[in-house]
């Protein structure tokens, strides 16, 4: 797909440094630092409604807790300093071991914080339930995600095409992802789009995401799955509707076919050197994977059992690129 890969770097750099300094002190100072650092892939620079809402919750919860945590730390240090043995002005109260009022306050403060945060957690969990469709004028685009050893397969069931290690989506359109694994557990995660979720064999999860802006967003597996784990990342290209349609047309025009036979080849442990696409997909393939009508991956077959099984690619990703 010409143009897409070349656009990666340019779009990456375009990202403005987000508005920082919303909450104060300590950890926030660290967060601010990281934002000013102009990092390209942070959850703190959301590119979609889900990650934006999650960042909001992160900031709100942090602000509520910092309001207690910062004074507590200052009080600890202050008390230690004031009651040092050499301070003649400190009033010693060696028998001050109980006070009902203090106890009340001491139990109330964390309880109030938790009531507050509990509310956020309850509302947030329901609003941002991964399986809950997003509000949008557009109908969601269905994408089926299969994690394999050690690559990602993205099937566009309605469009009849598939892509390996590159997710191309139209910006501004909600995505309905259905995820499974044809091997061990994986976690599908595009930090700038939001919510990560487990991909598990014999099961399918639902996840709704959306990329609001055009851009290239880093995606990865967030769960150790063997030797190819560090290579199991992909880029998500959010492009305009027109370019997306053009990509679909171009994809349909070339490349191999994804059917049972080619799928079985995918099951073998390997790291593809480049992303590539399938011009057509055998209908119902995803269901066959989920329902285990197609077998899961074999793992490191051919290795001597018990002794240093050979990983998938003995070639390092750096050499492949």
């Amino acid at each position: 797909m010409p143009g897409l890969a070349a656009g990666d770097a340019a779009i990456d750099r375009k990202r403005s440094s987000a508005t920082a300094g919303k909450v104060g002190l300590l950890l926030l100072a660290l967060l601010v630092l990281s934002e000013l650092g102009g990092c390209g892939r942070a959850q703190l620079q959301p590119a979609g409604p889900v990650s934006a809402a999650e960042r909001e919750i992160l900031y709100d919860s942090l602000a509520i807790m910092l309001a207690i945590v910062v004074p507590t730390i200052l009080a600890i240090l202050g008390v230690v300093w004031w009651y040092r043995p050499s301070n003649r002005r400190a009033r010693r109260m060696p028998d001050f071991v109980y006070s009902g009022r203090v106890e009340l306050v001491v139990w109330s403060i964390p309880a109030l914080v938790v009531i507050f945060l509990g509310g956020i957690a309850w509302i947030g969990s329901h609003d941002l339930d991964p399986a809950k469709p997003l509000r949008s004028h557009h109908a969601p685009l269905d994408i089926q995600v299969v994690s394999l050893d050690w690559k990602w397969l993205f099937i566009y069931p309605k469009l009849g095409i598939a892509s390996v290690n590159r997710l191309v989506v139209p910006a501004g359109v909600p995505l309905h992802l259905t995820l499974t694994s044809a091997t061990v557990w994986n976690v599908f995660w595009v930090p700038q789009l939001g919510t990560m979720i487990y991909c598990m064999s014999g099961m399918a999860d639902n996840l709704y995401l959306e990329a609001s802006h055009r851009g290239v967003y880093y995606g990865e597996s967030a769960m150790i799955d063997g030797d190819g784990f560090p290579d199991m990342h992909f880029n998500t290209h959010a492009v305009s509707r027109d370019r997306f349609d053009a990509w679909v047309q171009a994809t349909r025009g070339s490349g191999p076919v994804l059917n049972e036979q080619t799928y079985r080849a995918l099951l073998r442990q390997s790291v593809p050197p480049h992303p590539y696409t399938y011009r057509s997909v055998q209908p119902g393939l995803f269901a066959d994977v989920v329902l285990l009508r197609l077998p899961p991956g074999h793992g490191p077959q051919g290795a001597v059992p018990g002794v240093h099984p050979i990983g998938g690619s003995n070639v390092h990703p750096a050499e492949l690129k």
């Binding site: 390209g40 600890i76 009651y83 947030g124 063997g226």
Partner: protein, 678 residues
């Protein structure tokens, strides 16, 4: 089937120089030490006084030494990981994935099971019977078996360095990755059998200490007079008794899958890997508190002693401890909010997790009010306690942050999570262990550790913690997942370089601690603690000599208050002489030393090793051997030894004399002070 099962020459990493030489180096050092010990003629002494000892103090010290040695091993893994991630930017680094994955799995396994656990159980062993005012734990020989089984597990983990390989699936072997299909090697088996063997030891420790605390206390020591450390030890051991069978059963099911083709967790033939996730965390979350609660107890003791005040809100602290103990079983699902459970399930477990923060927050505030109005002496143990309070508050906050499910959707399995649990485990458990170590070292060995080097260690560890893991939070927020052997995201690089610097600072802290022990031992004659009470302590462990005699107390103390020793001391200072008159000394029966623990553990190692390599005849031999050891022990005739009254009198009189001298010195000091005031 061959004679040696799966074990062949291929099991030895003959073609991989790094594991080969590091493994060989470890074993050569070990063998060199053993030869040196043997040549110097220390073996009979070690056998008589330590290896076969059933004295809770000796066992406690051995637990702590095991933890220290394994801390070094686990820390080398940490250095390797930080170095790898610092250099593996668009490059393979020096560790291939197959080796890197073993390193992080070994690091986690060792640090939790063979460092944190032995530290906490060691300190409980050393101190709980002393604080309760009794002579030993309920089952002294069982205690020795527990220790040696833990050491057996640690040995198996280290054997994997040289023979075969270790687990490559993380410190918790999640299926299906840990199933035979995806991990055909012996790594997962090493993990499982090492944890099964040491887990049995831990479970027996739990039974032992629950029984000890519930049934063996000095006369008059009601529950609401027990020191806070005993309370937290009780809570932790109740958790062990309830949680460790879950671990054993879960790993047992995984082993059935791997060895005899069961399908508990395979995701095929009706198995379900999510079951493992739930079961392992049903143990795993209480485990967090099994480690943290005793540490909270240590901090309670230290803060109270060095503020010269009783613990503030003692009853509140008991409620908080027991609340944590119970709620810790109701939050396990927060380890996998991203597994796709519904919103209601997620938020209920999120809120339950937050509720644990309430009693924990109460504890922080109560320590604050313990210091408030006191006289805060900044000795090394107190420094660790203050460092803990500051760092743990921040770590607790990031933990509650992740208890909010939608926030966790972006933080789970990222370096933010890893930074969080290093933040809390280092600041609570490791600092707790170090606070307890510096605080109770004089009790165990009779001399005080060097303060200057202790303070160096404290500052280096604290700064190192934040330089190593502060950036961890940031890089996690930049989307970096855990356990990456290499990466190509430029934004992560600077932070990973800083983290590598942090691990160097912690290394300096560890070197300061090694220097501290060397210097202190060499100058021990100047550091003697003759009275048995070097810190002006408040609980019964300070009422006996340092180190205490085998029987702990010549006469069991009578407890009439929450701080019995402090009361005795205050009254003695009023009347100018020891409160308790010299008791009528009687001979004391103490349990006899027994090699049962050592021999059982030897056979456990044999059995474990044979199971890992499928050497079935050796499995049978090992099992028969350990059962025979049990039978021999059960049929013993002579299980106690009499310490004659003269010996009891001699030891106790020496301590009474030292205390009287100290008391008189103190009275004289006070008089001269009063005169100078006038």
């Amino acid at each position: 089937m061959t004679l040696l099962g799966k074990l062949t020459w291929q099991a030895f990493p003959l073609e991989e120089p790094l594991p080969l030489f590091s493994g060989l180096a470890v074993f050569l050092v070990l063998i060199a030490i053993l030869v040196w010990v043997w040549r110097k003629g220390h073996v009979p002494y070690l056998w008589r006084e330590w290896i076969t000892s059933v004295d809770h103090k000796r066992i406690g010290i051995m637990y702590f030494m095991l933890g220290s040695v394994m801390l070094l091993r686990g820390f080398i893994d940490a250095i390797m990981m930080r170095t790898q991630q610092a250099i593996a930017f668009r490059a393979p680094g020096f560790l291939p994935p197959s080796h890197f994955d073993q390193v992080f799995s070994a690091h986690g396994t060792i640090m939790i099971f063979f460092v944190a656990m032995p530290f906490m159980i060691g300190l409980m062993n050393l101190i709980v019977p002393l604080q309760l005012g009794v002579r030993d734990v309920a089952f002294p020989t069982l205690n020795s078996v527990s220790f040696w089984l833990t050491a057996a597990g640690a040995l198996l983990v280290n054997l994997s360095l040289l023979i075969g390989q270790f687990d490559r699936t993380g410190w918790l072997p999640y299926p299906p990755l840990s199933e035979l299909r995806y991990s055909p090697g012996v790594g997962v088996d090493y993990y499982c059998w090492a944890i099964q063997i040491s887990g049995i030891g831990t479970l027996m420790t739990g039974v032992n200490f629950v029984t000890t605390i519930l049934k063996l206390r000095a006369p008059g020591m009601h529950y609401t007079r027990m020191p806070m450390f005993c309370w937290t030890a009780l809570a932790a051991n109740l958790l062990i008794v309830a949680a460790f069978p879950v671990l054993t059963a879960t790993l047992g099911m995984l082993l059935l899958d791997r060895y005899v083709g069961f399908h508990f967790f395979t995701d095929t033939a009706g198995g379900n890997s999510m079951l493992f996730m739930n079961l392992i965390w049903a143990w795993g979350h209480p485990e967090v508190y099994i480690l943290a609660l005793p540490a909270f107890g240590i901090f309670s003791e230290v803060v109270s002693t060095f503020s010269s005040k009783p613990l503030f809100g003692y009853r509140s602290m008991i409620y908080a401890t027991m609340a944590i103990c119970i709620i810790s079983f109701m939050v396990w699902l927060h380890h996998f909010f991203t597994m796709g459970a519904g919103a209601t399930v997620n938020s209920i477990f999120g809120i339950a997790s937050m509720i644990i923060a309430i009693p924990t927050g109460v504890k922080i505030f109560n320590w604050l009010f313990t210091m408030y109005g006191g006289t805060v002496r900044l000795r090394t143990p107190m420094l660790w306690a203050i460092g803990f309070m500051v760092s743990f508050t921040i770590g607790g906050m990031t933990g509650v942050l992740m208890a909010v499910p939608p926030a966790d959707f972006q933080l789970h399995n990222s370096l933010f999570l890893v930074a969080h649990f290093h933040n809390v485990i280092i600041s609570a458990v490791v600092f707790g262990a170090f606070a307890g170590y510096t605080y109770w070292f004089p009790k165990a060995f009779g001399f005080v550790l060097d303060e200057r080097l202790g303070k160096w260690a404290f500052w280096l560890w604290n700064i190192g913690l934040w330089v190593a893991w502060g950036p961890g939070y940031i890089v996690g927020l930049e989307g970096m997942t855990r356990r990456l052997q290499s990466y190509d995201v430029a934004e992560w690089r600077p932070w990973l370089l800083v983290m590598a610097g942090g691990v160097v600072i912690i290394l300096l802290g560890i070197l300061a601690q090694i220097a501290q022990i060397v210097v202190s031992v060499r100058t021990r004659d100047r550091r003697r603690d003759l009275t048995g009470d070097p810190w002006d302590g408040r609980n019964l462990e300070w009422a006996t000599s340092s180190p205490p005699p085998a029987f702990n107390f010549a006469a069991l103390p009578n407890v009439a208050d929450q701080e019995p020793y402090w009361d005795m001391k205050t009254r003695a200072r009023e009347i100018g002489q020891l409160v308790r008159p010299e008791p009528r000394y009687e001979a004391i029966l103490m349990p006899r030393n027994s090699p049962t623990g050592f021999v059982t553990a030897f056979f456990a190692v044999v059995t474990g090793f044979a199971l890992i390599w499928h050497i079935w005849w050796l499995v049978i031999l090992g099992l028969v051997g350990s059962y025979a050891t049990f039978v021999v022990f059960a049929w013993r005739d002579h299980d106690e030894e009499l310490i004659p009254a003269e010996e009891v009198a001699r030891l106790d009189r020496a301590n009474r004399a030292a205390r009287t001298t100290r008391l008189q010195e103190r009275m004289a000091e006070r008089e001269s002070q009063q005169e100078s005031h006038e």
